[in-house]
Symmetry: C2
């Protein structure tokens, strides 16, 4: 039995939901799962119980759900397809990075392994997708390295944007217009709790101030000084 689109979507949502959490207590609550999938809470409960039956998740009533080893591998493969398709649409088809998410959301369930392999090959076995998210390998292995966000990284130090963890088109366009895409080198000049804002110095010392909520959606890593002459 190969999993239906619905099952793949549930696994993916649980996988991404777990992302926020610590390694030990990584139970995704039903409410969060239901709203991530846009279904009623009861629907999520029913479905998750079925997933638990088939061994793809572990379900703790009233507590939440977490992926089993099998479920995690499947979720990673869905994400692999999603991210390879996104990158393909941007690099080969010339679509904008803010408009490929929905398309990939559909295609990820219907592309054969054969075609995905072809895409992977054509793109040169890439490590990350257009949002900077890592692309799982064909065996389901993911290079998980966690970074600071603009909210937590050191002040006054050059950092490189690695991921943008919000896939909404308007946000992505904002990011693009202000040169905050993955790969850009920037610096956090100041943060202010009171005004809920973060001031950035971007490319060619361009200044922008953004809200803390937005800042938390931009992941960065320390720019390696040695690699920049």
């Amino acid at each position: 039995m190969l999993p239906s689109s619905t099952v793949e979507n549930y696994l993916k949502a649980i996988y991404l939901g777990e992302g926020h959490l610590a390694d030990d207590q990584r139970l995704v609550p039903m409410g969060q799962l239901a709203s991530a999938l846009g279904v009623a809470p009861g629907t999520a409960t029913t479905m998750v119980k079925a997933l638990a039956e088939s061994g793809l998740v572990e379900y703790e009533p009233y507590n939440g759900v977490r992926l089993s080893a099998a479920g995690e591998k499947l979720a990673a493969l869905v994400l692999r397809r999603h991210r390879l398709i996104e990158l393909f649409l941007v690099r080969v088809m010339g679509l904008g990075w803010d408009e490929v998410h929905d398309e990939a959301e559909q295609l990820e369930h219907h592309v054969s392994d054969r075609l995905i392999e072809r895409i992977d090959e054509m793109l040169g076995r890439p490590e990350v997708d257009p949002h900077g998210d890592p692309i799982p390998k064909a065996d389901g292995h993911v290079a998980r390295h966690e970074f600071d966000t603009l909210l937590t990284c050191p002040l006054g130090e050059r950092v490189t944007v690695t991921r943008v963890t919000d896939q909404e088109a308007p946000f992505l366009r904002f990011i693009e217009q202000h040169n905050l895409m993955p790969g850009e080198s920037i610096e956090v000049e100041a943060r202010d709790e009171v005004s809920d804002s973060v001031r950035l110095k971007g490319r060619s010392d361009q200044r922008i101030t953004i809200g803390m909520r937005a800042a938390s959606k931009v992941r960065v890593s320390a720019s390696d000084a040695s690699s920049r002459g």
Copy 2:
């Protein structure tokens, strides 16, 4: 309500089923439809009645079903997606023309108009797919021109292969190996009812003898003498 994959498949099957028939009495019988879709006869009946409810087909109990104007347009658009995807997979992704059918069968239901437009553009608004079948326009209009087959075309006259009307991979590989793909120029030297065979002279006077059943699956048009010096 946009149509489900199932509805699209029914419409496409009826469209293709009508292809064999004359313009007036073009009713596809239920049995044929059911077996084309791989469902039980009763299932096809039920579904067709529902399609008739929504105005996509005209249903005559015990006689068969034909597409309405709306249904025909929808079917043409599904076919457009299918054929553009096939051509894309061959030309851009480098897949074999005998392995793209199944992939396209899946993707045709899940690709956005936006992406199809991109593909169409990238391929230079092509007229035909890798099997020589015409690609409907975005408005649903199809250039329908019927040709002879190797079974009916004049003997001893140069003809050009235009379509191969059997999508089975083994057959397509056979066609490819013997240089009988769309575009190739060939000549029927002889036909023999008794031995059920057709003798062909192909590229660089290569000879092959094929069965009449196979010959009927290769459509051709008269090679235009003026265009070949």
